[in-house]
Amino acid sequence: MKANLDQCIKCSICNAYCPVLKATGLFPGPKLSGPDAQRFRMQRKAIPADWLEFCDYCKICETVCPHNVPIAEMHIQSRKAWGTKRPPSFRNWLLGHSYLLEKLGSWATPISNWAFGWGFLRWLLDRGLGIDRRIKIPAFRRRTFEKWFRSRGLTRGKPIAYFYGCYTNYIDPTPGQAVVEVLEKNGFQVTLPRQECCGLPLIGNDLFDLAANLGERNLKSLRKSVEEGAEIVFSSPSCGMTLTQEYENILHIPGASILAEHTYEISQFLLMLYEEGRLNTDFREINETYFYHVPCHLRALKMGLPALELLSLIPGLRVIELPEGCCGLAGTYGYKREKYEVAREVGKEIFRAIRKTNARMVISDCEACRMQIGQQTGVKTFHPIQILRRAYGE
């Protein structure tokens, strides 16, 4: 999608629905930072814009825009232009490299988990770097998803490549395990192509060149899978959005369009099998009512709500969609001291809605949403595919 600001009719609908604008006066809103500022940039005027950082990159502005204005993309262009004048802080550099932190944390468990739970270290990080001490840093796993996968015997079937993402690997492998098992139930042989972090945390912290490096490496290895005849699936909407949209539109990695063509969100992929009559629908009954939170980046993938469709195939199960909105965490955004409160304010309505339902469990595709919702409301959280695996029984 090419940025075209003339499509913008200044209706301000993006402003009306921007969760950050609602939460704080520090951000002037997507209309100003996107299409309005674009006019200045076209005249090569640099815009002093500390407030650009307050965008949490949920892309709701693009979702609600009735005129297809690529607002978030323009906004990123703003950040790129401004970033060349002001290099990112050490804190942002560190958070951008969360995949390295996770790798290190996983290697150093249990010391790392103990250290991040230690009040004094958190106080130091808070005062010294501006990483808010109130937010819980998730516990790392020594036995990564990849190790779990390698420890299993090979299965046979049609090959399919799985992009699992850092969170699944180092922090919570259970959704990844569910993805592998569900795909195997449907006769696929899952492979794990070599993969790095998708690069979204780097993009979110204005480290575009470093993100492009990771992107190129991922592209190379994923392209190989595609050339060997395997389609790619992902279970994290944010990683998937980065692979299929940001590599091409934001990072301008040559040849990235191949990913958009061959990469599927896991529920989308399974739903497609269902369309073709190839989905194993041998589900047992689950007589429960669950609540579902739609991640913003799933909306940004613009393909409806495939997980809801998929779960509706399970007999007895009722899934209710929670009111729309951003949970506020937005990757590394909610970890920053100056943004912790904003992030909480952004997600307030969702948390309120969850408490109102008395739900004990919330389903969401995105790990950041699951983390934030879990921490702020105390409910258990699951990926939709975990529910599907449960329906296959064991």
């Binding site: 009719i9 209706c11 301000s12 609908i13 402003n15 009306a16 629905y17 609602k22 704080t24 006066g25 520090l26 002037p28 693009e62 979702t63 609600v64 825009c65 009735p66 005129h67 297809n68 958009a260 063509e261 599927y264 989308q268 739903l271 497609m272 369309e275 909306r299 940004a300 993938l301 613009k302 393909m303 409806g304 709500l305 495939p306 809801l308 469709e309 969609e321």
Partner: protein
Amino acid sequence: MIIARGMGSLPLTSGCIDGLGYFPNTSKTPLSSPFTALGQLRQNDPHHPYVKVGQEEILSALACFLELSRSDGMPYAGTFDSNFLIPTPLGTFHPTCLVPETMKSGALSLPGRVLLLGLAGLKDFSPFLAVENLNLLHSQGMIAPSFRAGDMEGLDLGGKAINGLNLARAFDEKDFREKFIKRAQTFLRPGERLGLPAILGFHSSFEAWNDLKEKMATEIFEIPMPPPSVPGIRLYNLLKTHLRERGVRIFMGVSSLRPLAEDRRLKGFSLGSSQKGPFYRASAFVLATGKFVGGGLDSDRGRIYETLLDMPVLYPQDRKKWFNPRLLGTEGQPFNLFGVEVNEHLKPIDPGGQAIYSNLFAAGGIIAHADSMSEKSGGGVAISTGYMAGKLAAAMK
């Protein structure tokens, strides 16, 4: 299931439901009742969507809407048989048919004295400008009430910008309302009604309005403001919640849809730019994409086209006839009449008069022959055609 490219146009509207404000649209005086003009409309303009829907369906559609608004806690007032004249933020009047209860006592037919209270910093509403224009109309005998302006200063929203949305959210909070009431009391003289910009609550307008009315012991009304309009968003949220509670799925931000059709029957759509799906199927469809602002119609230099299914659009080939050089002339802009032609069942038809898809209906602005801008009929046409198209589509299940 609703599939949409974006939010739709409700946040751009006043939140009022226009019936028929001017007929013929060049008329200088607003209609007192849309209902009584229907007969004449049938003669002058037999293709008008109102004529296709018919009087009975229009009335039951609006009754259905009123019932919905009441049961869901945001009641509307009015009937198709009469028009309200309500003030605009510029101090002109707008004829409309159904208004939120919170705007009712702003009707310009109610005599008495009115204080219009502005909030310093709120750029979209100047009470002084509005009052000057309204009092001019009053002195010409065109409206009943007389107006006086006040401006409240020093409102604090905790550092957030003073705009309609932030103010509306602040009015949801009881504490903020208490503070506001205390300060507003000092402006109000005995016997005066109070007019405020439409910011009395984002989630619970009716509650905030009732609360204010009781505590200030006077009639209070809201004046709709320029977009993004709080009453428009309230209406959107009302409808969305209503539908979602009944299990309707709403997909928004879907920019590419590929239709799947077979022998004049629409089977479904696949979402996403590549041909991957997921696929969404249904037994019948209602096209409600609006005109140019809504995104249902678009144009390039030589032609005007319907954006989703590329169905034939009614418009003159001569490009000069698309526009009226008098930008805001009462006769309106010709392009506001463009749209798809439908038969008496609201099915889009080709120039030969045959339905393009046997299970596709149209509703709202995408239907040709109604210039909602100049005749002030947007909401009424939308609700009545939507009601009829929805019923017909449901019958095909």
